[in-house]
Symmetry: C2
Subunit: 227 residues, 2 copies
Amino acid sequence: MSNFGFTRLRLVNAYDVAYQEARSAVGASPILQEARNFGLLAEAIADCGLVVGATSVGHRELKHSLRRLEYGARALRQHLREGPAALLFGSEKYGLSNEDLSYCHWLVRIPARRDRGSMNLGQAVAVCLYEFVRSSAAASARPARPTPAPGGDLDRLTESWLEALTESGYVNPVTSHSTRLKLRRLFRRLRMGAEDCELMLGMLRQIQWKLESARGEPASRDAEPRR
Amino acid sequence: MSNFGFTRLRLVNAYDVAYQEARSAVGASPILQEARNFGLLAEAIADCGLVVGATSVGHRELKHSLRRLEYGARALRQHLREGPAALLFGSEKYGLSNEDLSYCHWLVRIPARRDRGSMNLGQAVAVCLYEFVRSSAAASARPARPTPAPGGDLDRLTESWLEALTESGYVNPVTSHSTRLKLRRLFRRLRMGAEDCELMLGMLRQIQWKLESARGEPASRDAEPRR
């Protein structure tokens, strides 16, 4: 609940010792501290204009209208603009009783495999609340691309690679042009960003400097390129 | 994983005694029994063409492309048509290390509150796998409506109410027409289904029978209406 920004927890008949201890513990979460405990479900939902029961498996013959979570969450969200509403979960062990279900206007079903038994309660709650806060727009929004490297940078990178490959004997100067074309295509295929291009250029400069040093040319500290 | 139909669990360095016990226990889930344990992350993902890291809070300065789960799950689903891919979770306590992250092509972020700390690992996994199996079409699909009651049935229901209300003194026969209009509007506003209309008619018949009996008319068992 906390992770997804929900705060109002109401419990029915929470007689669990572990719960009472967790609640009074030092550092208990505000949600737990402010949770209200009711003797009857009817009291817990008395101010709610809509009560939606959550179920992952329908092993009983359900007498309720059952909506997929994606649709149900949207309808519940719309209702919440007008007044309080409740999303009702049963106990981990028994789920919602027929008595509980009779207070529900309709049910949402988490689209889980029916043949795999019921879900862990904490996971079912997390999935339902996630569905509330997730954005349908985000599914089609492309992530921001890094600034693409300008063609000139890609060309410098290509030439730098080519020099390093020539120096190391991977290509010989005569046949190097086909390798140049390969590299050119490679960096465009990678859609390399400007920063990544700079990074790789710096690394290549260092490699070239080392290759040249190894060839016997005197390597002075002054000649070491800026990374 | 089981609830959402995923089967291939790979673990890295799972030395936990509790895990080994759970795995060898009688009745351990097939997922746990068939889970593969690797010494290194690189080995666990060696056959994967795409590795996506899952994170709920970005407290480190992330050097990765971060996509909202809604978008990321879609991209990952598309990749899975072509070959194996991995969704990578860190440990409950420490999350993904920088070393782990360096194996990821990009990251998905669960849209949780950044100020509320990290999510429970089991809940984070459930939310991510739910996003895989949920249907974007379901968000706009209206639930099937029950067969609406035909106008004739609604009229019978209205008259039946009116008789019961007259019998019980709620309306008198002279001013009953305005109540008839109220009832007529009510049942149309409720968009009552055919079955519910039948159900209420049956209940009203019983009430009328009781009211008539109470008035002193002899109530014989034969006169009790069919429910």
